[in-house]
């Protein structure tokens, strides 16, 4: 097999603030054969993006040091030794890149047509008219409907999926030999993700190019890649054809990655975590036992929501206002000690439901009955009593903790507000105990949030809610920003806490596999309306509505024998 790109002994170091050196990539070697897709897989900090960016020399020159023995051979030429202007000709023409965030990668003040045509004029030397015509063809090829009209659209007038299509059109405009796709679908909804993956696969075949696909999601890899390179902490742990990686993984880290992620097919009592595979004693027994899910008849209903509606007012012109319904009448019940999963694509109103029922937004209409009391009708003062009983864990653990508070202050504040614990000393003790409960060392009490990783911060956020001993915990995309292995740990923690304290969860997520794993009942939302509510096993086996079927059909299945054949 002909090699298009050979990476040999690539090592990248970064100069840090304090003068210290961080080794991001520790001498990795891999090949990209012609006309195939290679996936670079790893969690955050594994060095996968750094490796890819150093191929086309897009790393910040002041901080990044590429070790002298590194070689990146692209059709026999060492890209690391090429002069800068030769590199400029290669970038965009021979090797092009798609980034994760289409919104920030497109220039907001130029039309999409302009931006595609610019690439053609620069690299292919086309005239304005030629470039415009070719850009239109490309728009058509990447599946943007009505290309003639859309050429004149600005990026903000398009959806995220369409923006990513424009990015892809720009990337393939000059018929590159290698396309580097850096997490191109991570910011997109699952139905859109499916379309974009199909598009990349189709273009790869029709243009006879190679794709270097960078992702953290092994399920996506299984759908698209021919070869897989698994990275961790700057090292390659395993590389091989996709069949081998999925069917017969050799390295424990690969095995761990494959099984940490909840799947739609099974629901073990506990999710395996990395440590189960990497521990010194060898492989620990994996819990194969399945957990039964679903509402039972005798369940005590703790929260009953009827026709909850929330409309936002948008200002139009000077005095006019427009009503935008974000939630159009949601009705559901939540049983004690059970989990209700809320799924839907972005803009479906699932987060708004969560925020409205705990009165972080003012509801437009409906009822929220908590122990028979309508929370929406209570005065601010009467609501205070109920506030501590419904709590929320937000999506972004980097934003939801006050950076100027120590962890101790963060945990003690809610207890002070709600008069929990008789004095400061007792509160400190309770906070320490809770830290231990969520698996954090007691020293954390004196530290600031910026000293912790995403998963640790999410544990702190959970501990903050636990200080109030809530009956209902709303998890708003609480594990979506976390790495797969950390996600498994946090999901296990949430499950343990539910078993221990009989809390009820409203679990909001766009990730259908995670929702299937943790939920007893699932509510599917689309454009503010509830599409379907049912026990999770029922909904995943027998979706009743067309939309639910479409949503479930887009879940990446990972590698399957049939797909490869």
């Amino acid at each position: 097999m002909d090699k298009l790109l050979e990476v040999k002994n690539l090592g990248v170091k970064f100069k840090l603030d304090g003068g210290s050196i961080f080794e991001a990539v520790k001498g990795v070697s891999f090949d990209v054969p012609k006309n195939s897709t290679v996936a670079l897989v790893g969690e955050s900090g594994s060095g996968k993006s750094v490796s890819a960016m150093s191929i086309i020399r897009l790393l910040p020159r002041e901080q990044a040091i590429i070790s002298p023995e590194s070689e990146v051979l692209f059709e026999g030429r060492n890209l690391l030794k090429e002069p800068e202007d030769a590199m400029r000709r290669i970038r965009g023409k021979e090797i092009s890149v798609i980034f994760q965030e289409p919104m920030t990668s497109l220039n907001p003040v130029f039309t999409c047509g302009d931006q595609i045509a610019e690439v053609l004029r620069l690299h292919m030397g086309m005239s304005n008219a030629q470039a415009w015509k070719r850009a239109e063809e490309l728009m058509n090829e990447v599946g943007i409907p009505n290309p003639q009209l859309r050429m004149k659209s600005y990026p903000h007038e398009m959806s995220g999926g369409q923006q990513q299509r424009v990015m892809i059109a720009m990337a393939i405009a000059c018929e590159p030999k290698l396309l580097i796709a850096d997490e191109p679908t991570t910011a997109l909804d699952v139905t859109i993700q499916k379309q974009i993956l199909d598009l990349i696969a189709k273009l790869q075949a029709s243009h006879h190019m190679s794709v270097l696909f960078i992702t953290h999601d092994l399920a996506v890899v299984g759908e698209i890649a021919d070869h897989v390179v698994v990275m961790q902490n700057g090292d390659i742990k395993e590389k091989g054809p996709v069949k081998q990686i999925f069917e017969n993984p050799q390295h424990p880290y690969t095995k761990a990655l494959l099984s940490c992620r909840p799947s739609v097919e099974s629901r073990p009592k506990r999710l395996p975590v990395i440590d189960d595979f990497m521990s010194a004693e060898g492989l620990k027994p994996i819990h194969k036992e399945e957990r039964k899910r679903g509402y039972a008849d005798g369940d005590q209903i703790i929260l009953e929501v009827n026709n909850l509606a929330k409309h936002f007012q948008l200002k139009e012109g000077l005095f006019k206002k427009r009503d935008v319904p974000a939630v159009k009448g949601a009705t559901f019940k939540l049983a004690r000690g059970k989990t209700l999963g809320l799924v839907g694509e972005s803009g479906s109103g699932k987060t708004t439901v969560g925020l409205t029922l705990m009165r972080l937004h003012d509801a437009t209409g409906g009822q929220v009955l908590f122990d028979g009391v309508d929370l929406l009708k209570l005065s601010e003062k009467d609501f205070m009593k109920y506030k501590r009983r419904i709590q929320i864990v937000f999506q972004n653990p980097y934003a939801s903790l006050n950076p100027r508070f120590t962890v101790g202050q963060i945990l003690i504040e809610p207890m002070t507000i709600h008069n929990i614990g008789k004095d400061e000393q007792e509160r400190v003790q309770m906070a320490m105990a809770l830290l231990k409960r969520v698996g954090m060392p007691e020293v954390s009490f004196y530290k600031y949030p910026h000293e912790f990783s995403g998963g640790q911060r999410q544990r702190i956020a959970i501990a903050r809610c636990l200080t109030m001993k809530p009956d209902v915990l709303i998890c708003d995309e609480s594990v979506s920003a976390l790495d797969v292995s950390v996600q498994a740990q946090v999901l296990n923690l949430l499950q343990d806490l539910q078993d221990e304290y009989q809390m009820s969860y409203i679990f909001i997520s766009h990730d259908l596999a995670v929702v299937k794993y943790i939920s007893d009942q699932v509510m599917v939302m689309s454009e503010g309306a509830v599409v379907e509510v049912a026990n999770s096993d029922d909904i995943y086996l027998n979706p009743k509505q067309e939309y639910t079927k479409k949503l479930l059909g887009s879940i990446p299945k990972g590698w399957q024998e049939t797909a490869a054949a």
């Binding site: 705990m358 937000f394 006050n402 007691e442 004196y446 903050r464």
Partner: protein
């Protein structure tokens, strides 16, 4: 054997109780690495010490004593001619006038002798007036260096207090407007817009014309006209932070509005306030100088850099430049150091934007 046992039973290292570095500690560490910032800080601290020293009467206590001849030369140019420095009571000059005896027609003549005897009894301690002073003298023979130190006290005091007051007003109004938004925000925005539509100097002059002269007036004027920039910045910060998740999380646990405004958000915008504060100190020191120069500043019986510059106007014509130099140089050093310290502070507190 016992040693092994001891090892085992030795208490595990006590959990680390020292707080880990927060924002301010980290900022201090970054500032320490910044050489320009540290030098500026030393200069600023020196000026502040000088201010306190002068205020406590340790230095420059006798700034108003007329210790030298009029326009005494600076010590480093002692030989220069000083026409104004000649004493008016010079005996030699008086004796040149021819003596005319008027005692027979002068009705007071018989009493001259008695008066002379009486004056001889009164002790007069004539302080000898120096021909040169360290950095020269002014019209009344006061030491310019001491005057500059005393002037620094007034100027820095006015700048500091006015900047503190302006930052306080700007922060409180900005926090209210940015956090609450809606009607409160609109009302404050209108007030701000109307206020800033009046030309700044005109506003200061209007205030100065209405109130009587004095230190408190000048502080009041500067603070009440200078809060607008701080208000705008703090408001923007509050709008940004009010929608952050950590504030929502605080709302979810039941923190009140004022708690969210001042306990949660304020520490996160305090670096903006601090940088604004030091920028305004510089601005207000300059404003005080301008006001005093225009004759609207500090009262006549006290001295500031501004009044010194105002006096220097007429002195320059006769070639006496040292009062201008003393006030100008000390102000330039302080203002430059303070500005550079502000820059370093901003970099240290907000390392992401450089």
């Amino acid at each position: 054997m016992s040693a092994v046992l001891d090892n085992k039973s030795a208490p595990v290292a006590a959990p680390l109780h020292q707080a880990s570095p927060g924002l301010w500690t980290l900022a201090w560490r970054r500032l320490k690495k910044d050489k320009v910032g540290m030098v500026s800080m030393v200069v600023v601290i020196f000026f502040l010490l000088m201010m306190f020293g002068s205020w406590a009467g340790i230095i420059a206590k006798n700034w108003s004593k007329e210790v030298g001849v009029s326009y005494a030369n600076p010590a480093f140019m002692a030989g220069a001619e000083n026409l104004e420095g000649v004493r008016k009571d010079d005996k030699a000059e008086a004796s040149k006038v021819p003596y005319v005896d008027l005692s027979d027609i002068d009705p007071l003549a018989p009493r001259y002798k008695e008066w002379e005897e009486r004056t001889a009894k009164i002790k007069v301690t004539e302080t000898p007036r120096a021909d040169t002073l360290l950095f020269g003298g002014d019209k009344w023979g006061r030491d310019v260096l001491q005057k500059a130190i005393k002037g620094a006290e007034t100027s820095i005091f006015v700048g500091l207090v006015a900047a503190l007051l302006a930052t306080f007003i700007g922060t409180v109004l900005g926090a209210m407007s940015g956090y609450m938004g809606g009607k409160v925000g609109d009302a404050l925005e209108w007030f701000y817009n109307v206020f800033t539509s009046i030309p700044y100097i005109l506003l200061i002059l209007a205030f100065a014309a209405v109130f009587k002269r004095g230190l408190d007036t000048i502080i009041f004027i500067l603070a009440f006209t200078g809060w607008t920039g701080i208000y705008r910045l703090v408001r923007a910060e509050y709008i940004k932070h009010a929608s952050r998740e950590y504030v929502k999380a605080a709302q979810a646990i039941g923190a009140s509005h004022s708690r969210r405004m001042f306990v949660h958000i304020l520490p996160n915008v305090s670096h903006v306030c601090l940088v604004q504060l030091s920028q305004h100190v510089v601005q207000f020191i300059k404003a005080e100088v301008i006001l005093s120069f225009l004759g609207l500043g500090v009262p006549v019986d006290s001295v500031s850099w501004g009044t010194m510059l105002a006096e220097a106007q007429s002195e320059l014509v006769i070639g006496k430049w040292w009062q201008l130099a003393a006030a100008g140089i000390s102000m330039a050093i302080l203002v430059t150091a303070f500005s550079m310290l502000t820059d370093s502070l901003r970099d240290a507190l907000d390392p992401k934007i450089k």
